[in-house]
């Protein structure tokens, strides 16, 4: 599960959960690999990303590195920034671990890179 995906997951569907985002990460196996960098593409994705959630996730995976606190002005042309964003979004993967609802503590297992977000009838 890449952090781009984590950025799209929430536990709000659970009864009584107000936000459920971002999910906390308990990491057991993390993989870092290389993915082709496409500046234009990353620039298009940045507006859709919750930057704060991405930073927190990277930190929980032990890969905060020098990810800036906020998206800079004129980010579309800031290659250094976009490369860092690309690395965080695409090159760090949680293979095994748990995603945790920040309000209820409910754990969603991640196995072989796939998060299991199935909720039981009595949870929703």
């Amino acid at each position: 599960m890449k952090l781009l995906t984590h950025n799209m997951l929430s536990s709000k569907a659970i009864k009584n959960v107000r936000e459920g985002f971002p999910l906390l990460i308990e990491a057991r196996d993390v993989k870092v690999s290389e993915a082709e960098f496409n500046q234009e593409f990353i620039a298009k994705i940045i507006p859709k990303v919750d930057w704060d959630a991405l930073r927190r996730a990277a930190e929980q995976l032990g890969h905060l590195e020098s990810l800036p606190l906020a998206v800079p002005q004129g980010f579309e042309n800031d290659t250094d920034f976009l490369k860092q964003a690309h690395h965080a979004l695409y090159e760090i993967e949680l293979i095994n671990g748990n995603l945790v609802c920040p309000e209820t503590g409910r754990k969603f297992p991640v196995s072989d890179g796939i998060p299991n977000m199935l909720l039981n009838e009595d949870e929703i």
């Binding site: 995906t5 593409f41 977000m117």
Partner: protein
């Protein structure tokens, strides 16, 4: 838009026996997409019920610059989708095990540029619903429209302003009546893209947008 059929040799392995193997409905959807999609890349592509992953993989190859989110309730299907992506060099597919975008909803609603689904379209009793195994790939409840209708009811919320959805219908779904329902009850534009007879089934791919 030329679409190559992804390779799926791994589906013969026993661990994937619970996964829907690509059949005429899958190929019809691929043909319809090939015929109808244009070259302008969507940003966010979502598949509900990816099964073997053949559709997501094809879309991923078509649009290497899109984010492709493949979802399925069946854990073997999720794994199969990941394998299909890997085999076909699709770097932009993400797989999430979930029921109908649950847990993705809040973050993707209003942002989906392309939503595809080859749904469980066989008419069955209500009691056959709720499985997370192979039955989930065909058991469609009343008129076989359980999931299909759920998608249509939520399309206005799911799709981005210019977003499009492609769904597969079978004649037991009463396509003409359903298309009318899509237009009148949901104020959406809907047209048939491609139809084909496949054994005892008569399949139609429809395209829906605002």
């Amino acid at each position: 838009m030329k679409i190559s059929t992804p390779n799926t040799p791994h589906l013969a392995q026993p661990e994937f026996q619970d996964v829907y193997e690509p059949a005429e409905d899958s190929y019809l959807l691929l043909d319809a997409l090939e015929q109808d999609l244009d070259t302008q890349s969507p940003l966010l592509v979502v598949e509900i019920g990816s099964g073997s992953g053949i559709i997501s993989s094809a879309l991923s190859s078509c649009y290497p610059e899109a984010i492709v989110l493949a979802t399925d309730v069946n854990t073997s299907a999720c794994q199969a989708t990941l394998n299909t992506a890997s085999l076909n060099q699709n770097k932009n597919i993400q797989v999430v095990r979930t029921d109908f975008l649950q847990c993705l909803w809040d973050r993707v609603k209003g942002k989906v540029d392309l939503l595809v689904c080859n749904p469980p379209y066989v008419a069955t009793d209500e009691v056959e619903l709720g499985s997370k195994g192979i039955e989930a790939s065909w058991a469609g409840g009343h008129l076989g429209l359980d999931l299909t209708r759920r998608i249509v009811e939520n399309l206005n919320e799911i799709l981005s302003p210019n977003g499009i959805s492609y769904l597969v219908l079978e004649q037991c779904n009463k396509p003409d009546e359903f298309i009318e329902e899509i237009r009148t009850e949901h104020g959406l534009t809907c047209e048939k893209v491609l139809s084909r007879r496949a054994g005892r089934e008569f399949l139609t791919v429809i395209k829906i947008k605002r």
